[in-house]
Amino acid sequence: MYLFNSEVVSNQKLSQNIYRLRLKAAKDFCRAAAPGKFVMLGTVDGLLDPLLRRPFGICRWGSDWFEVVIKVVGKGSCQLSNLAKGVLVAVHGPLGNGYPNAELESEQKSLFLVAGGMGIASIASQLFFALDRKQSLVGTFLLYGAANISELILLDELTAASSSGLQIQTITDDGSSSRQGFVTQLLIHELQTRPQSRVFACGPEPMLKSVQKILQETGCDGYLSLENRMACGFGVCLGCVQTVLSETSETGMETAKVCTRGPVFPAQQVVF
């Protein structure tokens, strides 16, 4: 983990209320980054509202920069999304476990990456990681759902990955893209023909619950990336805990800190 103040390199508007911030980072930070890990971001203005830093997935990174994709949902995200080039941001990270990323290439099985809404930031980190390292994405499927077509972001970059073998399907709640419905419908459909698949999913809790159920029913294994509210991001506030199955506890369950043991959990472990 690193703590530093980082300069905004660029701030790009991706849709009406989604922004991509590129921040400077030291080489060490970039080496420690991995798909599914996240950062806690705050401002350096010395003002106390917002008070806590906010967690955002590390979506992509190079040797001396990284990017986050921020959807404006409240005051923290709003403030960060407004920052101009050159302004400093307080960064703490990389935090969390990240996805077990070796599996992207080494498996025979198909790999389904399932993103709901801003879950794409986390899911895309795996794809950018593979792309930026010229790894093959044959057998990898991106199933991506959002509320409407304007919230389907990063598609240009990800479509460029099709040459690596990635297959993309999108869906929107309101049908403003080709298909209407939930991303889990796509997953159910695909798993019917590829029952031996592996699934990584990130999105709102109802979606993850539904993915978990689908995995149970199909017997596929997979991982869920959770986004519980966080105060600290590094395991000291106990604010982000998730009940998970436990072999050692008497009750068969225990609480796990999403920020340190997660945010990515084996799907069958999570007790919603």
Binding site: M1, A231, C232, F234, V236, C237, V241, E254, T255
Partner: protein, 305 residues
Amino acid sequence: MVDLKVEIAPGVILKNPVLTASGTFGYGREYAPYFDIAKLGAIVTKGLSLQPKTGNPGVRITETACGMLNSIGLENIGVEKFLADELPILRKLDATVIVNIFGNNQSDYAALAAKLDGVTGIAALEINISCPNVKAGGIQFGTDPQAAAKLIAAVRKKTSLPLITKLSPNVSDIVAIAKAVEEAGSDSLSLINTLLGMAIDLDRKRPILGNVTGGLSGPAIKPVALRMVYQVAQAVSIPIIGIGGITSARDALEFLLAGASAIEIGTANFINPQTAIEIVEGIENYLKGQKCAKITDFIGKLEKV
């Protein structure tokens, strides 16, 4: 060099007045990657109970204006596991350790005190009689001077460790409670714990916190904390540790002026893990600038308006 040493209880001399507040510093080692925790005055552990506790279900934290609400519900690994797994690490890290304890009733507290008595590597006990997040928990002791005094007297009998009683701000008269526990044998006082608060999710028409109410901490409560520290400092003769909304060395110094011999940093540890050590440095630099050679010459030196 400024002499930052302070005495927070008879015989308990810390290298500086900066402590970390219970529940905001994990078991201590979580901060070791960020700075040398041996450089703090002391670290106060997450509140420990006799048995492990899983805490409250549902959403546990939410931000409010310049503050946060938490309803962690005193989740902790229990005193046994602390002694077996955590204390040895803290000793290796050379940290000065104050153990925060709470129970459901007087005998829990007494049993905890007895268990920790004589354990090497513990500088003092902080008795939480004030946590608003458990129904059958510390809070009833925290609002009634007599109950508080009885509890502290009982704990006092079970341990020779210095006792710091941690007071609740959710009371009509904090001075009465402070005096009662002083009389009952508390060596020191720490204040304040969180203010009881609540937040509502308007669109979902329900409380945000799984536990409905939670404890308010952070800069929002600093004025209340400062007032209580000042009031109590006028009324008792044991040392006081000030807590509540401290995010900077200047905040910390205000508490010292008001009469606190030391301070604890809570919520601010979440925002920047290096806050505590930066405050140690900030205090030293400020006093240097003031040509104050000994911090004890600064403590309580608030002048009349």
